[in-house]
C-alpha cells in the first residue's frame, strides 16, 4: 500500500476540507431550496474551519505547542459566531417564509435593480 493511505498528513485534511467546501459551494449554486442553501453555506464555513484547525495542528512542529491551542481557540470562536449567524439567518428565513409562503430562490428574485 502506498504511503498515501498509511499516514494521514496535512494534505489529507486539506483535501477533505476542499471537498466539503466544493460540496457546499455546489449546493449553494445548484439547489433551489433556501433551507438547503443555508445548510450548504454552513458546510462551506465548517470546511474553512477544518482547514484552519488542520494548519494549527500540523504546524506545532514549527511554532510550538501553543499554536495548536491558538488554532483551536480560533475555531471555537468561529463556531460560536456561526451559531449566532445561524440564529439570525434562520430567523430571516422563517420571516421570509411567513411572508411569501415559499423557500424557492427562483421565486424570490426581486433583489435587483
Amino acid at each position: 500500500m502506498s504511503s498515501v493511505f498509511t499516514e494521514i498528513t496535512l494534505n489529507h485534511y486539506l483535501a477533505l476540507s476542499g471537498i466539503i467546501f466544493m460540496i457546499g459551494l455546489a449546493g449553494v449554486m445548484l439547489r433551489r431550496d433556501l433551507m438547503v442553501i443555508y445548510m450548504c453555506l454552513e458546510l462551506m464555513l465548517n470546511a474553512a474551519s477544518l482547514a484552519l484547525i488542520s494548519f494549527s495542528r500540523f504546524n506545532v512542529n514549527r511554532f510550538g505547542p501553543d499554536a495548536a491551542a491558538e488554532g483551536q481557540l480560533m475555531v471555537l470562536f468561529i463556531i460560536a459566531i456561526a451559531v449566532a449567524k445561524a440564529a439570525v439567518g434562520l430567523a430571516l428565513i422563517v420571516a421570509l417564509y411567513r411572508n411569501r409562503q415559499t423557500r424557492n430562490v427562483n421565486d424570490l428574485a426581486e433583489m435587483r435593480f
Binding site: V28, A109, F113
Partner: protein, 608 residues
C-alpha cells in the same frame, strides 16, 4: 473733525439708501445738509476756527512685513484748498441739483449717489496713504458709474456708464501696480513718511528704470480719471448723466482727482524726470485734441466736457513741468467756472425740455437773462479775458510756468487757449445770441431763483477767484514768486490768440443757420472710440466667442456630459448583471474569487 468732513456724506448716502428713499425731499435735504456740514467743517479746519485735532488709527499692522497702514487725514495747504473747492463747489451743485432734478422719480437715488461721489472724492483729498487713496479711487469709479447710469432707462446712459467703468478700471489696474511698486521699492505707503524719506533723494541709476515704470503706472490712474488721451472716451459719455452730476464730475471731482493725485505724490514724480516729460506731453496733446473735439461738437454738454478735459490737460501738463502751484491754482479756478458753465447749461437744458443740441437753441439771452449772463461770465473766465476774470490768472500761471523750459508745452498750450476762445465763442453765438432756432426756445423762461443763486455765487467766484487778495496762489505756496518778465510776454501772446480765436469764431458763426465748418475727425473724437470698437472690443468679442466654444464643447460636452454619460452607460450595462437570481450572484462571486486566486497565485509575482 476731519472724520466728520469725510463721513457725513457717506452717512447721508447710506441713510438715504436704507431708510429715507421713499421721501425725495427729505433725501435731498439730508444730502444737501451733509454737504453743508462737510463744507462748514472744512472751513473751520482751514481757517482754524476751533476745529478738533486730526485723528488717525492703525488699520493694518504687519510690522514684520513693514506694512503699517495708518489711516489718517492730510492737513496741508494742498488738501485744505482741495477740501474747500470740492465741498464749496459741491454745495452749489447740490443746491442746483435739487432745483434741477425736482420731480424726477429717482430724486432720492440721485442724491444718494451724489453723496457717495462726495464721500469718495473727499476720501481722495484727505487720504494720507496710498491704500486709502486707492480705496477711494475705486469708490470714485463706482460712483461715477452710478451717476452716469442714473437714467438707466436710456440705452445710451447704460452704455456710457459701462464704458466709463471699464475705462476707469483700466486706469485703476495701472494705479494699483504703481501703489504696489511704491510699497515694494520704498517699503512704505504713508505720504508723510515717503515725503520725508524722499526729500532730496537721488535715484541710483540702476533703479531708475524701475522707478520710471512705477511712476508711469501711477500716472495710469490719472490717465483714466482725468480722461487723458487715449482713455478719454468715457468723458463724452459722461454727459449722459444728469447735468448737475456732470458738473460735479467734470468740475470738482473725478476729472480733477487725477490732477490732485499727481500733486499729492509730486515728490515721487520728481524721481522720474523723464516720465514727467511724458506726462506733460500726453497731457498737453490731450488738451489740444480735446479743444479740437470741442470745436465740432453740437451737444452743449459735450462741448463743456471737452473743454473741461482740455483744461484738465493743461493742469496735468503743469504738474508734468513741475509746477504744482499753477496746476492747483488752475484747478481751483476751473472748478468755479466749469461748474458755472455746466450749471448754466443745465439751466438751459431744463428750460428747453432736455434739448441739448446747440443748433436748436439761439436767442437765449433774451429769454433767460440771468442764466445767459452766468454763462457769459463762465465763458469769459474759461477763455481768459484779461485782468478781470479768474481763468485768465490761472492760465497765465500755467503758461508762465511752461515758458522758460518747456517751449513745446507752452506753444501747444497757447494754441489750446486760442481754440478755447474759438469754440466757446461759437457756442455763445449759436446757442445764446442770434435768433431763436426752434419752438422750444420760444416757450423757454428763466429758471427759478433756487437755480439762479448757485449760478450767481459761482459767477462771483469765477470773476474774483483769481484776484491777488483772495490769495489762492499764496495759500498753496507761500513762497511763490511770479515771473513778471515772462508774464508780460505770455500775457501779450495769449491776448493775441484770444483775439484770433474769438475773431475767427465771430467771422464764421455770425448769423449762420448751420455749421459752416464740418470736420468729422474732430466731431467724432478722432475716431478713437471706433478704433477701440474695431480692435479691443472686436478682439475681446472674438476671444469671448472662442472661450464660449471651449466652454460649450470641451468643458460642457466632453468633460461634463461625456463623463456623466460614461457613468450612465456603464451603469446601464452593469445593471444587466443584477437579475435578482441569487444563484447567478453566487456564480459571479465564485468567478470573482477564482479570478483573485488566479491573480494572486499566478500573476501578482510575475507568474509561477
Amino acid at each position: 473733525m476731519n472724520w466728520i468732513i469725510l463721513f457725513t456724506p457717506l452717512f447721508a448716502a447710506v441713510l438715504i439708501a436704507l431708510l429715507v428713499h421713499p421721501h425725495p425731499r427729505l433725501s435731498a435735504a439730508l444730502s444737501i445738509s451733509a454737504c453743508l456740514i462737510s463744507f462748514l467743517s472744512s472751513a473751520m479746519l482751514v481757517f482754524d476756527l476751533g476745529a478738533l485735532p486730526l485723528g488717525s488709527f492703525t488699520w493694518i499692522n504687519l510690522s514684520g512685513q513693514n506694512l503699517i497702514i495708518e489711516m489718517g487725514a492730510m492737513n496741508d495747504p494742498l488738501a485744505q484748498l482741495m477740501l474747500l473747492v470740492v465741498t464749496g463747489v459741491g454745495l452749489c451743485i447740490h443746491f442746483f441739483a435739487y432745483a434741477d432734478m425736482k420731480g424726477d422719480p429717482g430724486l432720492s437715488r440721485f442724491f444718494a449717489k451724489l453723496s457717495l461721489l462726495m464721500f469718495s472724492m473727499l476720501g481722495i483729498v484727505l487720504a494720507n496713504n496710498f491704500i486709502m487713496l486707492f480705496i477711494c479711487w475705486g469708490l470714485l469709479s463706482a460712483s461715477c458709474y452710478f451717476l452716469i447710469g442714473f437714467w438707466f432707462q436710456h440705452a445710451n446712459a447704460v452704455e456710457a456708464s459701462k464704458q466709463a467703468l471699464v475705462v476707469h478700471r483700466v486706469g485703476d489696474v495701472g494705479f494699483l501696480l504703481g501703489v504696489l511698486g511704491v510699497w515694494w521699492v520704498f517699503r512704505s505707503v504713508d505720504f508723510t513718511v515717503l515725503e520725508t524719506m524722499l526729500a532730496g533723494a537721488q535715484v541710483a541709476p540702476a533703479r531708475q528704470n524701475l522707478i520710471n515704470w512705477m511712476v508711469f503706472a501711477l500716472f495710469m490712474g490719472c490717465l483714466a480719471k482725468s480722461a487723458m488721451i487715449p482713455l478719454h472716451v468715457w468723458l463724452t459719455g459722461a454727459t449722459e448723466a444728469p447735468t448737475p452730476a456732470s458738473a460735479l464730475v467734470c468740475a470738482a471731482t473725478v476729472l480733477v482727482a487725477g490732477v490732485y493725485m499727481l500733486c499729492r505724490i509730486f515728490f515721487i514724480l520728481e524721481l522720474a524726470p523723464d516720465v514727467m516729460e511724458i506726462i506733460a506731453r500726453v497731457a498737453m496733446v490731450s488738451a489740444l485734441l480735446a479743444a479740437l473735439m470741442a470745436s465740432q461738437q453740437n451737444d452743449i454738454k459735450k462741448i463743456l466736457a471737452c473743454s473741461a478735459l482740455s483744461q484738465v490737460g493743461s493742469m496735468v501738463a503743469a504738474v508734468g513741468i513741475g509746477s504744482v502751484t499753477a496746476a492747483m491754482f488752475h484747478l481751483t479756478m476751473h472748478a468755479f467756472f466749469n461748474a458755472l458753465l455746466f450749471l448754466s447749461a443745465g439751466s438751459v437744458i431744463r428750460a428747453l425740455h432736455q434739448e441739448r443740441n446747440i443748433w436748436n437753441m439761439g436767442g437765449l439771452r433774451a429769454k433767460m437773462p440771468v442764466t445767459s449772463w452766468a454763462f457769459f461770465i463762465g465763458t469769459a473766465a474759461l477763455i481768459g479775458v484779461p485782468f478781470v476774470f479768474s481763468g485768465f490768472w490761472s492760465q497765465q500761471a500755467v503758461l508762465v510756468a511752461a515758458w522758460t523750459d518747456h517751449p513745446g508745452v507752452f506753444w501747444i498750450g497757447l494754441m489750446t487757449s486760442g481754440l478755447t476762445a474759438y469754440y466757446m465763442t461759437r457756442l455763445l453765438l449759436v446757442a445764446f445770441l442770434g435768433k431763436e432756432r426752434s419752438d422750444v426756445v420760444a416757450g423757454a423762461g428763466e429758471s427759478s431763483l433756487l437755480m439762479q443763486l448757485p449760478l450767481m455765487l459761482l459767477a462771483l467766484f469765477s470773476v474774483i477767484g483769481g484776484w491777488k487778495w483772495i490769495g489762492v496762489v499764496h495759500f498753496i505756496d507761500p513762497d511763490f514768486v511770479p515771473n513778471h518778465e515772462a508774464g508780460v510776454v505770455v500775457m501779450g501772446l495769449s491776448f493775441v490768440v484770444l483775439v484770433i480765436g474769438t475773431g475767427g469764431a465771430l467771422a464764421l458763426y455770425r448769423d449762420v443757420e448751420q455749421d459752416p465748418v464740418s470736420i468729422p475727425l474732430f466731431a467724432r473724437s478722432f475716431y478713437v472710440e471706433e478704433l477701440y470698437a474695431a480692435t479691443i472690443v472686436r478682439g475681446q468679442n472674438a476671444w469671448a466667442k472662442t472661450l464660449e466654444w471651449f466652454d460649450q464643447w470641451v468643458i460642457g460636452a466632453v468633460l461634463v456630459r461625456g463623463l456623466s454619460s460614461l457613468g450612465t452607460v456603464g451603469g446601464e450595462l452593469l445593471r444587466l448583471i443584477q437579475g435578482g437570481n441569487l444563484q447567478a450572484y453566487v456564480f459571479l462571486l465564485v468567478l470573482g474569487v477564482l479570478f483573485v486566486c488566479y491573480w494572486v497565485l499566478f500573476r501578482a509575482h510575475g507568474g509561477v
